[in-house]
Symmetry: C2
Subunit: 381 residues, 2 copies
């Protein structure tokens, strides 16, 4: 029944004309990539007059995919017909009937909202609304109600075509991936880091996912998580990078010898960020993303994050820093990573009983010297 999808985007609209063109082009490319990846056939994807029209006979299938393309604010499966009043009337009635059946209402309240985006069509918007409304009232049990309506019949007219729709589906918003550069994300297999990755992707970043190896079971889980996240990463190219840290065993053994196992988690995280830093330089990424949320576990303190942050001079982005666990879990469930994050993982043998809660940078440097024979690279003060 539908032969196209109308795509509306938000923030792009507020940029300068030049930036906007560029954004639109990236969004169009990401949309194509998404549809091709998911095997949804389409005839064309065209940006015009502040919206993008996808012509396709697989409108329904395409909606499921397009909902996951960042930069898109809302979507309407629509019928494109020639902009002639009779055709508009008939199509509007058809869609009205479809929606009425769906809602299972005997006498729905409705309104018609028309917009001429280009002005060739002879009737003005209020006239179109009146005509189409009348036509529906002549043919169906219904009442007009501009405020408390059950059905909104939308009509947009441009370049000799009319687009008619009865649904407007919310998407994630954000910015098209690829418009904001690249960041490295440390993916652990827990609930938080995939959500952090998702939020950065949503704001237009291509992410380079890095996993620090803990064991096969955890790795398999992280692969599943990344495969799920890829469904939001159209326009991004990265594959999961897995790093087996050579030094870890030695470092943790040494900490044990020194009787300072309580610094194990901090050293682990510090080395993770060092690794992420290397990958970032190799791939031209401009930041490192972590799933830290303040105070979620006793050791997620400002003091410990201070130490870990010294492992790289790249900014560390922590999009979850201000969120409660409940909010993070909510997002994880919405994007389909929660269940994967609760799959079994390898036991980590070296987690200390009492990790240090407020680590000291001076103490850390001392231990670092004893283990590596040199200071960690100094940063500033």
């Amino acid at each position: 029944m539908f032969n196209c999808v109308i795509i509306r985007y938000g923030e792009i609209g507020t940029k300068s004309k030049q930036t906007r063109r560029w954004f639109e082009q990236i969004l169009v490319n990401n949309i194509k990539e998404a549809l091709i990846t998911e095997g949804v056939e389409y005839k064309s994807v065209l940006a015009k007059h502040g919206r993008i029209i996808v012509k396709t006979n697989e409108a329904k299938e395409s909606l499921d995919v397009l909902k996951r393309v960042f930069g898109i604010v809302s979507l309407s499966p629509a019928m494109e017909v020639n902009a002639e009043l009779e055709k508009i009337n008939k199509t509007a009635l058809k869609l009205f009937r479809k929606k009425k059946r769906e809602l299972n209402l005997e006498k729905p309240k409705f309104r018609v909202t028309a917009r001429r985006i280009t002005k060739e069509f002879p009737l003005k918007s209020p006239e179109i609304q009146a005509k189409v409304g009348e036509y529906i009232l002549e043919n169906e049990e219904a009442d007009v109600d501009l405020k408390n309506y059950d059905i909104n019949v939308g009509i947009e007219i441009m370049e000799g075509k009319a687009y008619i729709f009865v649904d407007k589906i919310k998407a994630f918003g954000g910015l098209p991936i690829g418009t904001q550069g690249k960041v490295v994300v440390l993916l652990s297999g827990g609930i938080d880091s995939p959500v952090a990755a998702f939020l950065m992707m949503k704001r237009g970043c291509e992410v380079v996912p890095v996993h620090i190896y803990m064991g096969e079971k955890t790795l398999e889980k992280v692969r599943k998580i990344w495969n799920q996240l890829k469904k939001y990463h159209y326009g991004g190219k990265s594959d999961l990078i897995v790093i087996k840290p050579k030094e870890r065993e030695r470092v943790l053994r040494k900490l044990k010898e020194l009787g300072r196992e309580n610094y194990t988690c901090i050293f682990c995280k510090f080395m993770m960020v060092e690794n992420a830093d290397k990958i970032a330089r190799e791939f031209g990424a401009k930041g490192i993303v972590m799933g830290d949320s303040l105070g979620q576990v006793a050791s997620q303190t400002l003091e410990n994050m201070y130490i870990v942050s010294q492992a790289s001079d790249l900014p560390i982005y922590r999009p979850l820093i201000g969120l409660d666990k409940e909010e993070i879990v909510g997002i994880a469930k919405e994007i389909g990573t929660f269940e994967l994050s609760t799959l079994p993982e390898d036991e980590v043998p070296f987690i200390p009983k009492h990790p240090v809660i407020r680590g000291s940078w001076e103490e850390f440097k001392k231990l670092y010297r004893e283990i590596f024979g040199e200071e960690p690279k100094e940063r500033g003060c």
Copy 2:
């Protein structure tokens, strides 16, 4: 009618016993401070058995205040009576009637949920529920419905007292201020930075608000914003710190001379962070909070944030980094800073027409040398 408020808290419950005590104590103190600051009278604030009971005859007024204390998940204005069935019945009926009037329902559906938190009371929870339910049915037009109820009559029994309530009001959650240390927040007067401050406060941070002076009008506005934010800062002590940067005029003039006004915003922000860093050291704050959201304006890029981040070796927390403008505005409206942020402010005379979008660190360092006669302090690479 009510003589107390039951306070429920979330994440604290998951901590170790020792941490939990400490958290509870801070939360109790913050609650007292909030009530005293807002002139709400109370008799006592006591933590017991995983909840906090505030005894007060000003339950309604206290709710408005307590909703803004972080760490609290939900609140119920309640009646405390001796744990005797007859008293419980009568009180439950009274509250049921009150709620019925409020909802304006002729025959509401209801349920009773009882919990014995300590076990002295002779009846078990299901028996209490049955007895109280019966009593209400004998005295009022109503139906029991455990799933689709209009009214939930809650009863909690502990230490010889019963607490009866019919409302459960959601609060912000988060962690009690003071449990997570201190951070400096750069407050500009815009929409974003107050929201960033709010989110860090919500996660238990005391914030030290720093404003870099732009003019009297903006300052007055920022004072109003901080006064509003203080309503969420019970337990925190800070006053607004205003810094008039001595060097700014000279730096910006010099940039103009060099024909590099496009770096004005980056230098301004860099100097802001340098100032924030100094304040942080003075006040023992462990991080700097900024309202950056990626790509919101053309110059909020990973490249520019990289440069600005080099101004301090403290971690920079950007709780809005993964949020859309719409989401940020939503929070700003909810917490009452949005309207204040849209008040008029001083025109900033030195905003360049074309700020650099992807600033280069090398270029920045060169300019810095020319202006200050030395390199910015090196950090790592």
